[in-house]
């Protein structure tokens, strides 16, 4: 499991016009966006299958939104190709791309009713009035907004506006549904509801969807696959489980999920962290970043003997935080502070600060990344 960050997934793609056959329904080939002084998106390669729900996840400024806007045609690519169903769309203007885009701000037409908003894309396609009316009714039912057809967007709640935006993007039966942080303006409870709802609708219609978010929970819970981006590049592409359990770069390991992060020196299958020697399951040498997920560490009051492939450290609880479903501990072991998470199993189990404890985790759970030279 040793990887240099730079060798993650994107083997430098040829930037020329050499047409690689797209494997996916949507295929991004060496897609780049350069502004005068900075590279927003750097040779991104991605294949998305039909009906798949793929998230672009990363911190702000990582290029995920720019990538999405290039797919929609709202930003002109400076290099590479966008291919959908074998058709090169790179030079096609947005209004002929046939994509449905849901904006973070919803971007509803303020001067049109709910029905008018949803009908707009159909009118642009010159559909007959009865066809439009049927499909609008269908779309309104899909997002459960019956009875609000004639309201103006300003008369709707945030969640309802969100549904209108979704219906408006879906009613044109887009080849791909693009979602740009659609949930970030909603409150927490509504956000959870909409996650499920969006995913249900997408599954039911079989629409291919690209979902941009900076929220790892959203990405992990909603997606078939997640693309983690950083500095305009893809760090790793994989299923939520892949990313969480088998991060290939320190960035992915620390961005997706909580983690204990240490710097140390790798010596084969063990790593020296200060005075502490920790076992790992992978071969590495030299300076290295070491990460251990807090919930993979077992905390106990007994002094368990070290078994093969197992790490055991003795420490003292410094702080305990009760977080409902979790107990979170800060444990000082030698000169290292570990965060440890334990599921709350009934009351009375919490360990008070000052308690001497034993931490243990398996060697496989020590993630080691050789530091970049």
């Amino acid at each position: 499991m040793i990887h240099h960050a730079s060798t993650a997934t994107n083997i430098a793609a040829p930037l020329g016009n050499e047409a690689k056959p797209g494997h996916g329904f949507l295929s991004l080939q060496g897609l780049s966006k350069r502004y005068s002084e900075f590279v927003a998106v750097d040779a991104v390669d991605l294949d998305v299958n039909q009906g798949e729900f793929v998230s672009l996840l990363g911190p702000s400024g990582c290029g995920k939104t720019t990538t999405l806007r290039m797919i929609a045609g709202l930003v002109q690519a400076s290099g590479g190709r966008i291919v959908v169903a074998g058709r090169d769309l790179t030079a096609i203007p947005p209004f002929r791309r046939d994509m449905g885009l849901v904006f973070q701000s919803y971007a509803l037409f303020p001067h049109m009713s709910v029905a008018g908003n949803i009908a707009f894309g159909l009118e642009m396609r010159g559909l007959s009035r009865s066809e439009i009316s049927n499909r609008v009714t269908e779309a309104i039912a899909l997002v459960r907004l019956e009875g609000r057809e004639n309201r103006r967007p300003s008369e709707l709640s945030g969640g309802q506006q969100q549904r209108v935006a979704l219906a408006r993007a879906l009613v044109i039966r887009p080849s791909i549904l693009l979602l740009d942080e659609p949930l970030s303006n909603l409150d927490a409870k509504l956000r959870d509801e909409m996650r499920t709802e969006i995913r249900d609708i997408q599954r039911r219609l079989g629409t291919t969807a690209i979902f941009v978010t900076h929220d790892q929970d959203e990405a992990l819970t909603m997606s078939d696959r997640v693309v983690v981006m950083n500095h305009g590049r893809i760090e790793q592409t994989g299923t939520p489980e892949d990313l969480y359990e088998r991060p290939r770069t320190p960035f992915v390991a620390s961005f997706v999920g909580r983690t204990n992060r240490f710097s140390g020196t790798a010596l084969g299958r063990s790593v020296k962290l200060g005075d502490t020697l920790v076992h790992s399951a992978t071969e590495a040498n030299g300076p290295a970043d070491v990460m251990i997920r807090p919930h993979r560490i077992t905390i106990s009051t007994g002094s368990a003997a070290a078994s093969g492939g197992q790490n055991t450290l003795s420490g003292i609880v410094r702080r305990m935080t009760y977080a409902g479903n979790l107990l979170q501990y800060d444990v000082l072991a030698g000169d290292l502070t570990f965060q440890v998470e334990e599921a709350t199993l009934g009351s009375g189990r919490a360990l008070a600060p000052g308690t001497t404890v034993t931490l243990s985790w398996s060697a496989q759970d020590t993630l080691v990344f050789e530091a970049k030279p």
């Binding site: 169903a85 203007p93 209004f95 002929r96 039966r173």
Partner: protein, 293 residues
């Protein structure tokens, strides 16, 4: 639900190169600007260097005669000095009358503030002719003030118009809205908490005003004064009507030379001097603003 069915229905748009489109959209406004602004102004500057026959017709030759005349004839120096002095007086008076109004507006709130604000702005929507006419009704020999004074037993009318006094009074009022709005914009930075802080430190209301309110409103005062001065120098409707042909200022002279005497080169020369005064005022303003930080 595949896309293929809808692809064909999307309209084909006429292709227009981005740059060509921009040029097309900007063409009409540029034409108006060029024909109605740049060309006339450039022409005006050139005209001031044209030779004129005694009949008033231009010969088409270049000449510095008008500039020479303006620079050497004391009449024009006096005209310039008159204009500047009068405009400065008007600016000062406008500031004195407007400041309390603006401060009061700044401290008022809600509906009352909106009403007062409308009262300040609405005169701007009225022609200067109408407002000047109102002043004639107040200042003339049989106007409000003189009739009032006579009713109180004073003899003979006070000469309040057809002289500089009338012009100054009328222009002060006419330029007030600009000053008030500039002051209000300047008061934006004036936080009432700063005043309260000064008051809690034991400063009397007068000291709070002198040490806190006034210094903080200096940028607004500077902007309002610039606006008022510049507008005073270039206005001529009010000076013509309230001055009754007895008040000579740069702007009235430009108009008289252009319309009555038909000496366009002289009018052009004088109007360029108006612009020079503008430039000097603007320079002083930016210096003042810089020194205020």
């Amino acid at each position: 639900m595949t896309a293929s069915a809808t692809h064909a229905a999307l309209p084909e748009a006429p292709k227009l190169d981005g740059r060509a489109l921009i040029v097309m959209l900007l063409l009409p406004i540029t034409a108006v600007n060029l024909i109605g602004f740049i060309l006339p102004v450039v022409n005006l500057a050139m005209i001031s260097f044209m030779e004129v026959r005694s009949t008033g017709a231009m010969t088409g030759n270049w000449s510095f005669a008008k500039w020479q005349l303006v620079v050497t004839d004391p009449f024009y120096w006096e005209l310039l000095w008159n204009s500047v002095r009068t405009s400065l007086t008007i600016t000062l008076l406008t500031l004195l009358v407007s400041y309390p109004v603006a401060l009061y507006l700044h401290r008022s709130s809600g509906m009352w503030r909106s009403i007062l604000l409308v009262m300040v702005i609405s005169p701007l929507l009225l022609s200067a002719v109408v407002r000047t006419y109102g002043w004639i009704a107040i200042l003339s020999d049989r106007g409000l003030i003189n009739n009032g004074l006579m009713a109180l037993g004073f003899d003979g009318p006070l000469r309040l118009m057809f002289n500089l006094t009338g012009v100054v009074i009328g222009l002060t009022e006419i330029l007030m809205p600009y000053m008030i709005l500039a002051l209000l914009a300047g008061f934006g930075k004036l936080d009432s908490r700063v005043e309260e802080a000064a008051a809690t430190l034991g400063a009397s209301p007068f000291r709070v005003f002198w040490r806190v309110v006034l210094p903080l409103s200096l940028p607004g005062i500077a902007l309002g004064s610039l606006l008022t001065f510049v507008l005073a120098v270039s206005s001529f409707i009010t000076p013509k009507l309230l001055g009754g042909g007895r008040v000579f200022l740069l702007a009235t002279e430009v108009y008289d030379q252009a319309i009555v005497t038909l000496d366009w080169p002289l009018a052009a020369t004088l109007s360029i001097i108006v612009l020079v005064v503008f430039g000097v005022a603007l320079t002083i303003y930016s210096r003042v603003l810089k020194s205020l930080g």
